[in-house]
């Protein structure tokens, strides 16, 4: 086969697949969001934005992302550096740390529910230690802070691994010569981390952050398991419009709003962590 056509032939199946199962449905959803019985209109958007829970769910989603993602970046960086320094058992630790990656988000939510529930592990433990006399209900509408904390913890536990994997791969790409040179000049470990690892890790950090932030705006199952209706988030409201209210137009509008937020943040991250031309390794 002509080597000039070959690459296009190779990506053809994926392109066709994406067009059929992503682009086409996306166009349909967009169409649904912008139309009512009377034709083109913004009524669907007006309806979902005017609903009294919309500002709350938007705020909750953003707050959660703001609390979880930076913490995860720090944690993933720390874990990746640690793994990289290990001489023995590196693979084993990496496997163990990435176990949560293989667990579905709903299952993760249920695991943490088993901990925080009124008859859950945390309550039994505190009861056994004599801290409390009888089980306390931690995840109730009276403790919104606790609900938030439980969801944030579950998210950190579940989704740090995806950043870790990307960062470990990124650190592996940094040539050893830089570190050797730095050592020769007597740079401290912190200096080596902040002056070599971090700057050269930019492309990986960019990828990891973009992926993670998009996932953070799509948070749904963990919240549903731990917060029920107490902690409305954008994705949960979308689900309610589609399946509880059978209002496809409003659900499509919500989906587009989430998409817009995701694109906005992706652009910000791409811009903030951009790699200058010709500076790649």
């Amino acid at each position: 086969m002509n080597p000039r056509i070959l690459p296009y032939v190779l990506i053809l199946p994926v392109t066709v697949f994406l067009c059929m199962f992503f682009l086409y449905p996306f166009v349909l959803v967009a169409q649904q969001a912008f139309s009512t019985e009377t034709g083109f209109s913004l009524d669907n958007f007006r309806e979902v934005v005017d609903y009294w829970r919309f500002p709350i769910s938007l705020q909750n989603t953003l707050l959660l992302a703001a609390a979880v993602v930076p913490f995860q970046v720090g944690l993933a960086l720390l874990m990746a550096t640690m793994v990289n320094r290990m001489k023995r058992g590196r693979d084993m630790i990496l496997y163990i740390w990435t176990i949560p990656l293989g667990i579905s988000d709903l299952a993760a939510g249920i695991i943490w529910l088993a901990i925080f529930d009124q008859s859950g592990f945390l309550n039994s433990m505190m009861n056994g230690l004599g801290v409390i006399d009888q089980p306390v209900n931690l995840l109730s509408y009276q403790n919104p802070g606790m609900v938030f904390l439980a969801i944030a913890l579950a998210e950190i536990w579940r989704a740090t691994a995806i950043m870790l994997v990307i960062l470990v791969a990124g650190i592996g790409l940094i040539p050893k010569e830089y570190y050797e040179a730095a050592e020769v000049f007597g740079a401290s470990p912190w200096k080596r981390f902040s002056r070599i690892t971090l700057p050269l890790l930019r492309p990986s950090l960019q990828t990891a952050l973009v992926l993670r932030v998009i996932l953070a705006f799509e948070i749904f199952a963990v919240v549903a398991a731990l917060g029920g209706t107490l902690f409305p988030v954008l994705m949960g409201e979308t689900y309610a419009y589609q399946f509880d209210l059978r209002n496809g137009g409003a659900a499509a509008a919500m989906a587009l709003i989430i998409l817009a937020i995701s694109i906005g943040f992706t652009l910000i991250i791409l811009r903030a962590l951009r790699v200058p031309k010709g500076a790649s390794i």
């Binding site: 009124q118 995840l139 509408y141 029920g228 107490l230 589609q242 509880d244 209210l245 059978r246 209002n247």
Partner: protein, 422 residues
Amino acid sequence: MTLHSKLFGAASGLVVACTAFAAQADVLFWSTQAKPVEEAQAMRDQVLAGFADVVDYQPNDGGPWITRLEAELQAGEGSIGVLGALHGDFSAMNPDDLMDLDELGVSAASDTFNSLGMLGTDSVQYVPWMQASYIMAANVEALPYLPEGADINALSYDELIAWTANVHEAQGRPLFGFPAGPNGLAHRFFQGYLYPSYTDGVVRTFASDEAVGAWEAFRELWSHTNPASTNFNILQEQLLSGDAWIVFDHTSRLAQAFNDRPEDFVAFPAPAGPTGRGFMPVLAGVAIPRTAPDMEAAQALIAYMLEPETQLATLRATNFFPVVDVEFPDDLPPSVRAAGAAVATMSASPDANPGLLPAGLGARGGDFNRVFVDAFHRIVLANQDIRTVLDDQAETLAAIMEDTGAPCWAPDAPSEGACPVE
């Protein structure tokens, strides 16, 4: 072509032919009811095994249920033979998508149910299949705390509140259980129980002064309610675990408690308020989508579902009661006896004020429920001013009623045109 590939081709062709044949012989019963694994299996083994054809009983959540159905309707052809769902599910559909079932000649004993099955048209769109209601249940340990002089079979809301307060005080924790979780049926309590009992209406009286009184009473009840109720969906779990001693829920969502430990729990009617003892029946029906592959088999299956023996088998399988006249045998499970007695006492009580399921709302049924759930969230959980919230939610409610043009249903006084929010 090699011999191998020829053989393979022939074999796969045979497999395809076989599955196609098998798929055609089965009647697909696509249902939103009897979803729990044990109930679904009982439907297959005890109810549908007696039907002449093989029935493929597939229960599903409302979302996937409507999604597949709509896909088949849009495609103009499908494999679903018979639909089983709640009145609310059917009323959200376009009646043109359901076959008219007048010629089938089967119907329920209750004319009210039969007219609900017409979905506002002149012909039968779904045939009533089974019914249930909502009742109260209590752990026998709570009985000593009943307020003095109160009859558990004729409680008032004030007595219920006093009772839950007594239990709260004695046990040191609130033990009333309320299905306010994401999949709980709290909205039915407001629509069919609290509002009819306090305001003698649902829509007309939504924001009346009596309604303010109803919410004040409910707030008081809530102060003796386990705050984890916002995560309670099916109260039999909390009855069995001891997290709630006095509860309100759907009869089939309490059944397991009575069947597992019949000695430990009692069932009793819902309480009465100033305007009577409001209560609401639950109605499920069977229908045929216009895309059903084998109309005759589907019709035969519907006729079979309405036979008295099938109805009794359904009762044992799902804890939903028959809609036709049957003679009850003596060996019914404890849950059926307990719930049946409570429902009978409730409907026969002198102050009974039965309400009907919301009708004529079409696809806006979910929005209608949300008005009540939102009112609950704002008034009770967020502690907002009752009058403000009701006036606010009344606007949403009025818009839904005007949009759908749904006339009033009992206990609201009949209306000409859309039911007004007064």
